[in-house]
């Protein structure tokens, strides 16, 4: 069977908003439905049955077990459109793109939507393990005596609600603290981090100004531009911020709220289809999905940084496709923290790292900073975990089309020591 190509036909997202602000009283399902509806309206797909919709959220209520399907049912799509949820932490959004693209490439479906959503505002709050155990025993109790016995175990401290955290389950450390270790290990300076953040804001603001997002974003709840964006961000302003991560390390702390992504609410969706589908619907492909590679590192015992997995995935992806950095017009590297990106770049430039950790003959190479995140990334836009993949893919695909480029590399780090990378090409 000759393999078909999977085309990125378009994208849509709602403007990303900092948590507990404009979208504080909405839900993952409503945001995702709105992102889908914006995409449906952009391409006149109301009432259309698509092959499949893949989606997910990182912070997910237990009632949202069928989140994506519920969003499809609430959207203008034909209710006969199937959907499924997947999860790979911050790589969830990109993994939905991989999944839908592969189904198109294998001929299983003609068209599909890859999407993701996250709300750190409407986060699931759960009861303590103790209270949960008591409540379960209570529900299993058959006599009043048994019920009373269960209830007598209840203590006031059991009632404290448990909010989700960005802490790693196996280390108890927050992602920022993990990254601070890598930042220090790689000697990434405060100035370099702040400069990357300023560049991110500048690039995103320029993209908004020239109307780049007119056909990539649909307003939501009265918000029409990413609320985290600070077009007037400067090195001086960022320099005033106090470090928030790595303050217990021997090295000076460098990571601030300005060079780290804030908690963000948002949703994104990407329309993917075969060439036949595109032609039949009069859609011109923005780009094609070529390949993807995931990697994971042992950040618990293996001495590797939590967010360093993409450095392992990229060389494998390049090797499999016979490509080098020189073959790419630009690079979309998710800015979990400015220092994450800078660690990745430094790692690929390091002979030692590339030889010893990646098993290469020498340094993988350096990336021209003018080719990095040309339309800004998560530092400026914010990072609603599962929605970031869709934002990056749609942005990169449109940029590739607009600039007449041939190839873009996409890289996203994720909790659990994981990373997912992909190639888009013209």
């Amino acid at each position: 069977m000759t393999q078909r190509r999977a085309a990125v036909l378009g994208g849509n997202r709602i403007p990303f908003a900092r948590s507990n602000k404009q979208y504080a009283h909405t839900s993952n399902q409503d945001m995702l439905t709105s992102a889908l509806d914006g995409l449906v309206a952009r391409y006149g797909m109301a009432g259309e049955r698509l092959g499949e919709v893949a989606g997910g959220a990182v912070l997910k209520h237990s009632k949202d077990i069928n989140l994506t399907r519920e969003a499809v049912l609430g959207s203008a799509l034909d209710p006969h459109t199937p959907a499924f949820d997947i999860g790979q932490a911050c790589a969830t959004g990109l993994e939905t793109v991989v999944s839908i693209s592969h189904k198109v490439m294998h001929g299983q479906i003609e068209s599909g939507i890859a999407c993701g959503v996250d709300s750190a505002s409407d986060a699931p709050i759960v009861v303590t393990e103790e209270l949960r155990s008591i409540l379960l025993d209570l529900s299993r109790a058959k006599s009043n005596g048994q019920r009373l016995k269960a209830l007598t175990r209840l203590r006031p401290q059991h009632l404290a609600p448990q909010a989700p955290s960005t802490g790693e389950a196996r280390t108890g450390m927050s992602m920022g603290e993990h990254q601070a270790i890598s930042t220090a290990a790689w000697g990434i300076s405060r100035e370099d981090q702040d400069a990357l953040a300023v560049e991110s804001h500048r690039n995103l603001a320029a993209a908004w100004d020239r109307g780049f997002f007119d056909d990539l974003v649909t307003s939501y709840q009265g918000v029409s531009v990413d609320t985290n964006l600070r077009p007037d961000s400067t090195m001086e302003k960022l320099a005033e911020l106090k470090p928030v991560f790595g303050r217990n390390l021997p090295e000076p702390a460098t990571m601030t709220a300005g060079n780290s992504t804030p908690l963000t609410d948002g949703a994104s969706a990407v329309l993917i289809g075969s060439d036949e589908y595109a032609a039949a619907h009069g859609l011109e492909p923005l780009a094609y999905f070529r390949d993807a590679e995931a990697a994971a590192v042992d950040f618990v015992h293996g001495g590797e940084g939590l967010l360093m997995a993409p450095t392992y995935a990229v060389p494998r992806l390049l090797a499999r496709n016979g490509l080098t950095f020189a073959d790419f017009d630009f690079f979309e590297i998710h800015e979990a923290f400015a220092s994450t990106v800078l660690c990745h770049l430094a790692a690929w430039e390091s002979e030692e790292f590339c030889r010893e950790r990646l098993g290469l003959d020498g340094a993988l190479g350096s990336i021209d900073r003018t080719k990095l995140n040309p339309n800004g990334s998560s530092l400026a836009a914010g990072h609603p975990f599962a929605a970031t993949g869709g934002r990056i893919i749609a942005t990169a695909a449109k940029h590739l089309k607009e600039t007449g480029g041939t190839r873009a590399l996409v890289s996203i780090c994720a909790a659990g020591g994981q990373g997912l990378t992909a190639i888009l090409e013209a």
Partner: protein, 456 residues
């Protein structure tokens, strides 16, 4: 918003309203696609006048399964009175037909119609060698129609069809007749539809009112600006109802509402600022097909007394309400992006015709629209197309709902129908202009205002 007075005046307060002689608006009859009578009524139509036009129109109505009377039957109610004045040469000839209308008025049903049909007069500054008496009688009919519209009660309207060198059965005169007869013209009163060419396809009363795949706009590509909400959203819905594939344009800030509106009609949302230099080009690219119908609906108000008017208020109202329309029309023409018989309708406003305190900028732009369509008519006719304007009066929208109570009530009651119109009423007039049958009406501005006293 709901006009509570209408429901009170037709409900618990009906007697008081009558006793005190208060305004007595009635709920208007509006078009419903499910209506088996196609938006017309079941009562017969009274055709008055001893003219060739009267005979031809009677036959037309009979052919379309209407019941037609040439003299009133005292025991009956009529859905409409059609008064034919065509071919008259002197004002002395007006009397019989006009008094006959008067005698039959009490037999007109609720939400009935009076439609006058007359030849077009010429008015200064047209150079003409027209006979003064001939021109007098022709213009006299407009006076009769307008005054009669003021006298109509219970949701009835009076309008005129003006024949500018065409027969009463010219395709667009027929289409105008169906429009004025039907519920689609609910909020049009005291107005004239001037037919100046034999262009257009002849349509039956039922075809005129058909919807969906048998609708008059089936297969047409229609672009509506400002389509997210209010009147624009309603225009999009009505064009879709009549068969068009709709592309809705609005600013990115209105994206969520635009997406909802477009998804409800299987349309396509295009987010862009129509004042951008390349807006026309972008619209053509996104549509990707020849544009058959373009509705310039997007508009803004930036009210200030002229003494306090600043540059940004002035400039933005002009840019959005008129300059963008000129530029988009030009760019589509330059790119040969129009369909076979393009139809353009622009939104004017009675503020543009009458002027309004605090609205020099808005009135300039809306009066500009009237001038634009008049001047562009010839150019569009050369492409077998038309360009017209619709001037809404007081329409019940979010914008008018936000008005202070007294001006809002005045806006509603200071019209012959004594109520505000609905976005649907504006949309119906636009959908009429863009029908293939209306190809003989070009360069004109139709008021949809319930014969508002403003600028009348």
């Amino acid at each position: 918003m709901n006009d509570k007075y209408i429901s009170l005046a037709n409900g618990p307060l009906k007697k008081i309203v009558k006793t005190l002689g208060l305004p007595a608006p009635v709920p208007l009859r509006r078009f419903d696609p499910a209506d088996s009578a196609h938006g017309y009524l079941s009562e017969p139509i009274l055709v008055l006048g001893e003219t060739a036009g009267a005979d031809a129109l009677s036959q037309l109505l009979l052919d379309n399964d209407f019941s037609v009377h040439r003299t009133p039957n005292p025991g009956l109610r009529y859905q409409a009175i059609i008064a034919a004045y065509d071919g008259l040469t002197h004002p002395d000839q007006l009397q019989d037909t006009t008094l006959a209308i008067g005698a039959a008025l009490r037999q007109l049903t609720r939400c009935g119609r009076v439609i006058t049909v007359a030849d077009a007069g010429v008015v200064f500054p047209h150079t003409t060698d027209a006979d003064p008496a001939l021109n007098a009688v022709r213009n006299a009919v407009t006076g009769i129609t307008r005054s009669l519209a003021h006298e109509m009660r219970a949701g009835s309207t009076a309008n005129g069809i003006v024949l500018d060198g065409v027969q009463p059965t010219a395709p667009s005169a027929v289409a105008a007749l169906w429009f004025l007869l039907s519920a689609k013209s609910a909020y049009v009163s005291g107005q004239f539809l001037t037919v100046s060419s034999d262009r257009g396809t002849t349509t039956s009363a039922a075809e005129f009112a058909a919807t969906g795949q048998t609708g008059p706009l089936n297969g047409a590509v229609a672009v509506v600006t400002g389509a997210a909400r209010g009147i624009g959203a309603e225009i999009a819905r009505v064009l879709h109802r009549d068969g068009a594939q709709v592309y809705g344009v609005d600013v990115p800030q209105a994206g969520q509402a635009l997406a909802q509106t477009m998804n409800s009609i299987g349309g396509v949302a295009i987010q862009l600022d129509i004042t951008a230099e390349h807006a026309g080009q972008q619209i053509m690219e996104r549509v990707g097909a020849p544009i058959d119908i373009l509705i310039h609906n997007a508009g803004i108000t930036r009210d200030k007394l002229l003494a306090n008017m600043d540059e940004s208020r002035w400039a933005s109202a002009i840019a959005v309400n008129i300059s963008s329309q000129l530029r988009i029309n030009e760019s589509i023409t330059a790119a040969t992006g129009w369909g076979q018989a393009p139809r353009v309708v622009s939104l004017a406003s009675i503020a543009g015709l009458a002027g309004n305190r605090g609205q020099t900028n808005y009135s300039a732009s809306k009066a500009g629209v009237v001038g634009m369509v008049a001047a562009a008519a010839e150019d569009f006719a050369a492409r077998s197309g038309t360009i017209n304007a619709v001037a809404p009066g007081f329409i019940e929208t979010d914008m008018t709902a936000a008005m202070p109570m007294v001006p809002r009530e005045l806006g509603r009651r200071l019209s012959s129908l004594q109520q505000g119109g609905k976005p649907r009423d504006v949309a119906e007039a636009i959908a009429f202009f863009v029908q293939p049958a209306a190809g003989g009406i070009n360069g004109k501005t139709l008021r949809v205002c319930g014969q508002s006293l403003l600028g009348a």
